[in-house]
C-alpha cells in the first residue's frame, strides 16, 4: 500500500517555490525514481560482493568469467528497470501537463514563452529525479548493508568489502538523467498549448490524435518484422548449434522494441477486445470508453506492465523449457540437484525482473488516480443525471481491470513465446549422456504453473490497489460539482 500512500504527498515541508512537488503525480514520480535507483544500487553492490567472493575462492579466483557474466546480467537488469521507469515518468509528466493546460495557457497569455514553460517542466523533472535518486541511494545502501551483514554471517569468513563503491553512483546518476529526459519528453505537449485556451470555455476533446507519426509506426513495424524473422531463424539455427540463442536474442530485442514503439497501435485494439468481455451495461461502456479516452496514455501505462510480466514469464518458461529439453536429450532423467539449481536461478531472476513490473504498477496506480482527478466535473455530471456511487465504484474498477487484464494477458503470451524461443534456440542441438547421438530437437513450451498463478494473483492485487484511491476520490465527488462554472 506504500505505493498508494506515496501517490498523495500530504505535507512535504517545502518552501513556497517547491509547492509544485505536491502536485498529484510528483510523489509517484519520486517513488519511481527511488525504486529504480535503490534497485540499481543494490544490484551493483551485490555484483561487487559476488565478485569479491569469487576472487577470494581458491578454485575459481583467477577466472573472471563468472564475475563478468554476473556484472553483465546486472547491467541488463538495471537497464530494463531504468527503461520502464523512464516510460512511466514520461507518461506521468505528460499527464500532469494535460491537467495543467489552463495554468500554462494563462502564463502564455501574460507573456511567458512555451519554451521557458517547457524548460521549467524539465527542471522539475531534474529535481524529482535528484530527490528520488538520493532516497533510492540511501535505501539501496541500507538494504545492501543488511544483505552483506546477513551474507557474512551465513558464509562465515569473507574478504573485506566496502559498500562505498564509486560505481553505485552510476545507477543513481542514471536515474537522475533518465528522469530529467523523461520529463522533457513528457512535456512535449506544453508547446501545443495556446494562450487562448486560458479564456476559451472549450469542450474537452475526448480522444487524443493518435495518428500523426507514421514514420515511427513504419519503423516499429519494420523492427517487429525483422525481430520475428530473427526469432524464427534463431529457433532453426538452434537445432544445429547453441549459437541460435544469439540470433534469437537479437530478434527478441528488435521485436520487443518494435512492440513498445508501436504500443499505441497494438494496445488499443486489445483494450477494446477486453472491453467486450465486460458486457454492454452503462458502467461497462463508460469504463471501456474511459480506458480508451487517451489511447497513448493507456498504451504506455499498459506497456510498462507488459514488459515486467513478459520478463518474469520469459524466465519462468525458459528455465522450465530448458529442463524439458535436457530431460529429453538425457533420455528421460534429469539430475535433481541440477534441477534445483535451475529453479533457484529462475526464482532469483523472476524477482529481479519483477522490480520493473512494480515500477510499472506504481505508474499505473498513479495515472488512474490523476485520470479521475482530471475529470471531476464529468463525474459530477454523471452523478447528477443518475450514476449511483456503487456504479461509480464499478466503473472505476472495470477501468483498472481493462488495463491490467490487457497488459497481463499480453505479457503472458509474449513471455511464453520469448521464453520458449530462448530455451529452444539455446538447447535444440544439445546432446546429453547416455544418448549422445540424438539431439533434443523441438519441444513444446513448458509453462510452470506457480509463476503464472503468482502473476495472475499479483494482477488481481494490482487492480484492487490501482482502483482504491481513484474510487475513494471519485465517490467523494458531489453531483453539484457538475454545475461549477470552472
Amino acid at each position: 500500500m506504500s505505493a498508494v500512500a506515496a501517490v498523495v504527498p500530504e505535507s512535504t515541508e517545502t518552501g513556497p517555490r517547491l509547492t509544485w512537488l505536491r502536485d498529484r503525480g510528483m510523489g509517484a514520480s519520486i517513488l519511481v525514481a527511488a525504486l529504480s535507483s535503490a534497485f540499481g544500487v543494490v544490484l551493483v553492490e551485490a555484483t561487487a560482493y559476488i565478485g569479491a567472493m569469487l576472487q577470494a575462492d581458491p578454485y575459481i579466483g583467477d577466472s573472471g568469467t563468472l564475475a563478468v557474466v554476473v556484472a553483465m546480467l546486472s547491467v541488463l537488469l538495471i537497464g530494463v528497470a531504468l527503461y520502464v521507469a523512464a516510460i512511466v515518468t514520461a507518461n506521468t509528466f505528460s499527464t500532469i501537463i494535460a491537467g495543467r493546460t489552463r495554468h500554462i495557457a494563462l502564463v502564455r497569455l501574460i507573456g511567458g514563452s512555451a519554451r521557458s514553460q517547457r524548460a521549467e517542466v524539465a527542471r522539475q523533472g531534474l529535481i524529482v529525479g535528484a530527490i528520488g535518486a538520493s532516497i533510492g541511494l540511501i535505501a539501496g545502501l541500507l538494504i545492501a548493508w543488511a544483505g552483506v551483514a546477513f551474507a557474512d554471517r551465513m558464509l562465515g569468513d569473507v574478504p573485506a568489502f566496502t559498500l562505498m563503491l564509486p560505481t553505485i553512483l552510476i545507477p543513481t546518476l542514471g536515474v537522475v538523467l533518465t528522469t530529467w529526459a523523461a520529463a522533457w519528453v513528457g512535456s512535449r505537449r506544453v508547446l501545443a498549448v495556446t494562450p487562448l485556451q486560458a479564456i476559451a470555455g472549450s469542450v474537452e476533446r475526448s480522444h487524443e490524435d493518435a495518428a500523426g507519426r507514421p514514420a515511427r509506426h513504419v519503423g516499429a513495424l519494420l523492427l517487429l518484422i525483422a525481430g520475428v524473422a530473427l526469432l524464427a531463424f534463431g529457433v532453426l539455427v538452434g537445432l544445429v548449434t547453441p549459437l541460435g540463442v544469439v540470433v534469437a536474442f537479437l530478434g527478441g530485442l528488435l521485436s520487443f522494441t518494435g512492440i513498445s514503439l508501436a504500443a499505441v497501435l497494438v494496445i488499443p485494439p486489445l483494450l477494446r477486445l477486453v472491453g467486450k468481455l465486460f458486457g454492454r451495461s452503462a458502467t461497462a461502456r463508460l469504463a471501456a470508453e474511459n480506458a480508451l479516452r487517451y489511447p497513448e496514455r493507456s498504451s504506455r501505462m499498459a506497456i510498462g506492465v507488459v514488459m515486467g510480466v513478459t520478463l518474469v514469464t520469459m524466465f519462468a518458461v525458459a528455465l522450465e523449457s530448458v529442463k524439458v529439453l535436457l530431460t529429453k536429450a538425457a533420455g528421460g532423467e534429469l539430475d535433481s540437484e541440477f534441477a534445483i539449481i535451475m529453479d533457484s536461478f529462475a526464482a532469483v531472476m523472476m524477482v529481479l525482473v519483477g522490480i520493473s513490473a512494480v515500477i510499472a504498477a506504481v505508474g499505473l496506480v498513479n495515472l488512474l488516480t490523476i485520470g479521475v482527478v482530471q475529470r471531476r466535473r464529468e463525474l459530477g455530471l454523471l452523478r447528477a443525471i443518475g450514476l449511483s456511487n456503487r456504479q461509480v465504484r464499478r466503473m472505476i474498477l472495470l477501468e483498472a481491470l481493462h488495463i491490467t487484464i490487457t497488459a497481463t494477458a499480453t505479457g503472458l503470451v509474449l513471455g511464453v513465446l520469448y521464453g520458449w524461443i530462448a530455451a529452444q534456440s539455446l538447447l535444440g542441438s544439445v546432446r546429453m549422456p547416455p544418448h549422445f547421438e540424438e539431439t533434443a530437437g523441438l519441444v513444446a513450451p513448458a509453462v510452470p504453473w506457480i509463476p503464472v498463478v503468482v502473476i495472475i494473483a499479483a494482477t488481481a492485487v494490482l487492480t484492487l490497489v490501482a482502483a482504491a484511491t481513484p474510487t475513494r476520490l471519485a465517490t467523494r465527488v458531489a453531483p453539484v460539482e457538475a454545475l461549477a462554472v470552472d
Binding site: 474537452e204 451495461s281 443518475g386 449511483s388 456511487n389 462554472v485
Partner: protein, 253 residues
C-alpha cells in the same frame, strides 16, 4: 391527510426551506425560509442577482443538495431525508438536467448521451419512450448528428442534445441552469424556444435559473429571488419589464 403536491397542481415544491453555510459569526444564509411551488406544465424562470440563492434553491429542489431546514418534494415524493442512492435513482428517473456547459459525457456520442439515463437504469427505452426520443431527435434537428461526439458539435448542438436527454425520460421536472449562458444569441433564442415549446405543447414542467432578462421573457412565470427570499412572483413578462424590475431591485438594494 396531508395535501399533496399533485393536489396543488405542482410538479415540485419546497416548504420553509433554509440553507446556511458555516456556523456562528461567519454563517452565511443562502436561503431564508422559502416556500414555493413549481406549477405543473409551466415554464418557470427563477431570476435574481448573483448570490441571491437561486442556484442553491435549484440544487435542493433537484435533489443535488440537502437543506439545513425545511422540506422539499418532487411530485408527491418528499426528497428531504432520502438517502444518496434513492436520490440518485430519483434524479435518474424523474428529473432532467440542462446545465450551462459541460452537459455531455465527452466519450459518448450524441445518442449515447441521450440514452444514458435509461442505460444507467439498466434498461432499454420502451416502445413509447423510443417514439418519444425519435420525436425529440427530429424536433431538435439532431438526426444527422447522433453519431457525433460532443467535441464535434457546436455549442448550440450540444445544448440541444442536452435538452433531448433531459426530456427523453418524460421527467416530472426539468431543471435548466443558465442553459443559454454559453451560447450566441441566435442559438440561445433557439434553445429557449425549444424549452417553451416542450412545456406548451407537451406539458413539460420546466424550472430555469437565469439572470438574463431575455431568457426569462420566454417563461410563463418569473420568480425573483433576493437575499435568499422570494421577492416577487410575476406571470409572463417582457424582457424590458424584467430588466426594469431587476435594475430597480439592484438600485434600491
Amino acid at each position: 391527510m396531508e395535501i399533496t403536491t399533485t393536489d396543488l397542481g405542482l410538479a415540485a415544491r419546497v416548504q420553509h426551506l433554509t440553507k446556511s453555510y458555516g456556523a456562528g459569526e461567519s454563517a452565511v444564509t443562502a436561503l431564508d425560509d422559502i416556500s414555493v411551488g413549481i406549477r405543473r406544465g409551466q415554464f418557470t424562470a427563477i431570476m435574481g442577482p448573483s448570490g441571491s440563492g437561486k442556484s442553491t434553491l435549484m440544487h435542493i429542489m433537484a435533489g443535488l443538495d440537502a437543506p439545513t431546514e425545511g422540506r422539499a418534494w418532487i411530485g408527491d415524493t418528499e426528497i428531504t431525508g432520502l438517502g444518496d442512492l434513492d436520490l440518485t435513482i430519483l434524479r435518474r428517473r424523474r428529473v432532467g438536467f440542462i446545465f450551462q456547459s459541460f452537459n455531455l459525457v465527452p466519450t459518448l456520442d450524441a445518442i449515447g448521451n441521450i440514452l444514458l439515463p435509461f442505460e444507467l437504469d439498466g434498461r432499454r427505452p420502451s416502445a413509447i419512450e423510443r417514439a418519444r426520443i425519435n420525436g425529440l431527435v427530429e424536433t431538435l434537428g439532431l438526426g444527422a448528428r447522433l453519431r457525433h461526439r460532443p467535441h464535434e458539435l457546436s455549442g448550440g448542438q450540444q445544448q440541444r442534445v442536452a435538452i433531448a436527454r433531459a426530456l427523453a425520460t418524460a421527467p416530472d421536472l426539468v431543471f435548466a441552469d443558465e442553459p443559454t449562458g454559453n451560447l450566441d444569441s441566435a442559438s440561445g433564442r433557439e434553445v429557449l424556444q425549444l424549452l417553451s415549446t416542450a412545456s406548451r405543447e407537451h406539458g413539460q414542467s420546466i424550472a430555469m435559473v437565469t439572470h438574463d432578462a431575455i431568457a426569462a421573457s420566454h417563461a410563463d412565470r418569473v420568480l425573483y429571488l433576493g437575499d435568499g427570499r422570494i421577492v416577487a412572483d410575476h406571470p409572463r413578462q417582457s424582457a424590458e419589464q424584467i430588466a426594469a424590475y431587476m435594475l430597480a431591485a439592484e438600485v434600491s438594494a
